[in-house]
């Protein structure tokens, strides 16, 4: 196990280095000059030159990369050109917001997706199954953007139950925080709930046809126990893995949803930074996200090995 861990950790460093180079180069592929964008309407050439110098934009690409990576290694992700704030501070400010939204979305999608999946598998080929499938199809094919605006106009404008947008931290005001995040979390969770439902349904159908379920039934167990204790438990393993993976995706920011609901999370930060060519922010946030992914991946691998000793070879 120690050898396995050491080997995996040794792989991480070059991976991260490669990731940092890719992030840096991808960013450079964007047309548009950060200094010009920053200057906006105030196009004093002298100032533009000064900005280029200040942020090393006048240097060659390898030199710019070295400046950046040198900072990263010493824990300094650089400074936002547009906001003059350290990138690490922005990341620390946005991460809890995105985390909350992602967790709520995953909980919602697991709740809806698994229930619907189990129900449609149990009532296979009945009107219930078809109805659930239709709703799921609708869920997959509804654009987040549109659903968000529709929910706002229903729950905020017409009914006046929920705030139309914005974000309040749960530590500031728990209920208001729930009120501001429930709609975006639902929008985010909705599409994924549909995917989960389809997966749960097929996994359940497979499980229901398995020998151990037949055995359970033969033992005279009630149908409810057969479904809940035998079939569902086995069917859920891949589904829960899927949910965990989705959490990783959501953590990198839900761009459209955060935009519609004006939630100051990672997604909105990245979008604003890309449009403003705020290189340091885009690079910093992407690097943090990539690192989180790699680490989560490592944790998953470790967990698999712990569970399944055959993988240790």
């Amino acid at each position: 196990m120690t050898a396995f861990l050491a080997r995996r950790l040794a792989q991480i460093l070059p991976t991260l280095l490669l990731v940092s180079v890719i992030i840096f180069l991808l960013q450079q592929l964007l047309p548009g000059d950060p200094a010009t964008v920053l200057a906006g309407e105030e196009r004093d050439p002298e100032v533009i030159a000064q900005i280029r110098k200040q942020y090393h934009l006048d240097q060659s690409l390898p030199v710019q990369y070295l400046y950046w990576i040198k900072g990263v290694v010493t824990g300094d992700l650089g400074e936002s050109m547009r906001l003059k704030e350290p990138v690490s501070k922005l990341v620390a400010q946005k991460f809890p917001v995105t985390l909350q939204l992602a967790l709520m979305a995953v909980v919602i999608s697991l709740g809806i997706g698994i229930t619907a999946g189990v129900v449609s598998a149990v009532y296979k080929n009945t009107i219930v199954d078809y109805a659930v499938n239709i709703v799921a199809l609708w869920g997959i094919s509804t654009p987040n953007f549109w659903l968000g605006i529709m929910l706002i106009s229903l729950f905020s404008v017409h009914l006046g139950w929920l705030p139309a947008s914005g974000y309040v931290s749960p530590f500031e005001d728990f209920w208001l925080s729930m009120k501001t995040t429930i709609m975006p979390a639902f929008v985010l969770g909705n599409a994924f709930a549909a995917v989960l439902m389809r997966h749960t349904r097929s996994a359940m159908l497979q499980a229901m046809a398995a020998d151990y379920v037949r055995t359970a039934r033969a033992k005279g167990l009630s149908e409810r126990v057969v479904i809940a204790k035998h079939a569902m438990r086995n069917a859920l393993t891949p589904v829960v893995t899927l949910g965990a993976l989705e959490l990783g995706t959501l953590l990198s920011g839900a761009v459209l949803t955060e935009q519609v609901f004006s939630i100051p999370g990672f997604g909105k930060l990245i979008v604003d930074s890309v449009f403003n060519r705020d290189y340091a922010v885009v690079q910093g946030v992407t690097l943090i996200t990539a690192t989180t992914y790699i680490l989560l991946n490592l944790l998953a691998d470790v967990a698999y090995v712990l569970i399944n000793p055959r993988l240790r070879g």
Binding site: V37, G40, E42, V47, R82, L83, S156, P163, Q259, S262
Partner: protein, 504 residues
């Protein structure tokens, strides 16, 4: 113990009743402002926040006339090279320091000398700032520069606390300290900016709001939804297509004005070989033909529901500097065809039409494309992301480019940087030494009538060959709830909160 509890309950109730009496005004902005440092700031949306945070030496009124703010008066010497400012006495900055001649000197010098200051170019005519006494400042100019006072009515005229600015350096914008009606409380990037009423404000009797919260909400539909659901009291840049809906809602009010800037199409008349050899570089009659093919009123109806003001100059027909001898031309397709024939170009004239991505710009481009086609143009629309489009324009990789200008108080701000040979906004690369000389003369003259006469000399050539077709002046559309009383809109689009009340 019981007494303690009773006391606490009393205190709590006193606190809640005080909190209930507090009035908060929540404003929806279209974007998240950039850094809140008057020297380093550059966005329009940032100026909206500054209007509550940082007072300027001068301000403007509804008629775009300069009025006093932190300065009471200005006097220019006969040779135009010395400007004396008399300051309002007894003005406090947010940190309790006094806003005096020293603070003004410090702020102006900061604008002039700070690395990456965006104000430098605006007031570079200032050679020296001297303190005469506590309320008098003397500005010595390198050369006469009449737009200076108008510059001091914007960010270049904002006075910061020297103490705070020295302590925080280029991080001043994270906690700005100025002399406006509201002081900085906190900012969550892309979330909110919170300002509180400044108790020692010089004009405090006219400030009735206790707290202002600015919230950036990019989607116009969502901004309006927030206003309708009571989540905001005021929104800026509502869509023209939403005007009907806003008017129909008894709980909402509209405040509109025609902007100081313009929407135009920049034509590449000499930027790189692509421009010089392109459709507009060889013969100015092609520019005139395109202009003749355009129906400005129709554009206004389609893109702005008729709320914009069609125009053909860098300032609107309502502006005192508008040249009446050059009225807005009507569409004339026959004339356009004739001009193209006279220019001897092969038809159709193929134009690389670069359009920054946006719902209104795309719509505008499509209508122009259809109109121009009737005259013999083949406008090939190339929708480009804004930041990229700036680079393309700078490099001259376009023939026509939809570009708007937010406008300045002084007409110089709407023309100099676009039509002078070395102007940083001169993407068209129009360059005539006589135009340069005339524009410089307009900067040196100070009487408005004299300046207007000078501008008349450049108008004919600028409109016929200057590489910009001015189309219309967009409406500034502000919507607010009926809870707001006393809100007035000015043409600069900024949100001024003195005199505004929030009803319970």
């Amino acid at each position: 113990m019981r007494m303690k509890f009773g006391l606490a309950a009393l205190l709590l109730s006193a606190m809640t009743s005080a909190a209930a009496a507090e009035t908060t005004l929540r404003i929806g902005l279209q974007e998240d402002p950039d850094v809140l440092d008057p020297t380093l700031a550059r966005t329009y949306v940032g100026r909206i926040v500054f209007a509550s945070l940082c007072d300027k030496l001068f301000d403007i009124n509804e008629k775009q006339e300069i009025i006093p703010q932190l300065a009471l008066s200005h006097e220019t010497s006969a040779d135009g090279k010395t400007v004396t400012l008399k300051l309002r006495p007894g003005v406090k900055l947010h940190d309790g320091e006094t806003m005096d001649a020293e603070a003004v000197k410090y702020s102006l010098e900061r604008h002039l000398t700070m690395a990456s200051s965006f104000r430098k170019a605006e007031i570079s005519s200032i050679d020296k700032v001297e303190v005469v006494d506590a309320t008098t400042v003397k500005l010595s100019l390198k050369n006469p520069f009449s737009p200076l006072i108008a510059q001091l009515a914007d960010r270049a005229g904002m006075i910061v606390s020297p103490k705070a600015a020295k302590e925080t350096g280029d991080k001043f914008g994270l906690k700005p300290v100025c002399a406006g009606p509201f002081k900085f409380v906190e900012r969550v990037q892309q979330g909110r900016i919170v300002l509180d009423r400044f108790a020692d404000y010089w004009n405090k009797d006219n400030v009735f709001v206790d707290r202002v919260v600015f919230r950036p909400i990019t989607e116009s539909t969502v901004r309006l939804a927030n206003l309708k659901s009571g989540g905001l009291e005021l929104i800026e840049r509502a869509l023209a297509t939403d005007i009907k809906e806003i008017k129909a809602d008894p709980k909402l009010r509209l405040a509109t004005q025609i902007e100081m800037g313009y929407q135009g199409i920049t034509l590449n008349v000499g930027n790189s070989d692509n421009g010089k050899n392109g459709p507009f570089g060889k013969d100015p009659r092609v520019q005139q033909a395109l202009e003749a093919a355009i129906d400005r009123e129709a554009l206004n109806q389609v893109v702005y529901n008729g709320e914009a003001l069609p125009g053909n100059q860098w300032i609107s027909p309502k502006n005192a500097y508008y040249q009446e001898k050059f009225p807005v031309p009507k569409r004339d397709v026959a004339k356009a065809k004739q001009l193209l024939k006279d220019a001897g170009v092969t038809l159709p004239v193929v134009v690389d039409f670069m359009v920054p991505n946006g719902p209104d710009t795309r719509q505008l481009a499509e209508v122009v494309q259809a109109m121009a086609a009737e005259a013999g143009f083949d406008m090939k629309i190339r929708v480009t992301e804004f930041a990229t489009s700036l680079n393309e324009a700078e490099a001259g990789r376009y023939h026509a480019y939809i570009l708007a200008w937010s406008g300045r108080v002084d007409p110089d701000g709407n023309i100099y940087s676009f039509l002078s040979c070395t102007g940083p906004n001169n993407y068209a690369k129009y360059c005539k030494p006589e135009t340069d000389a005339t524009l410089a003369a307009a900067r040196a003259a100070s009487a408005p009538a004299e300046r207007k006469a000078i501008y008349e000399k450049v108008t004919a050539d600028a409109l016929a060959a200057g590489g910009i077709i001015y189309l219309y002046h967009r409406p500034v559309i502000i919507a607010h709830t009926t809870k707001l009383e006393g809100y007035k809109q000015l043409p600069d689009g900024l949100i001024r909160l003195t005199g505004v009340k929030v009803l319970p």
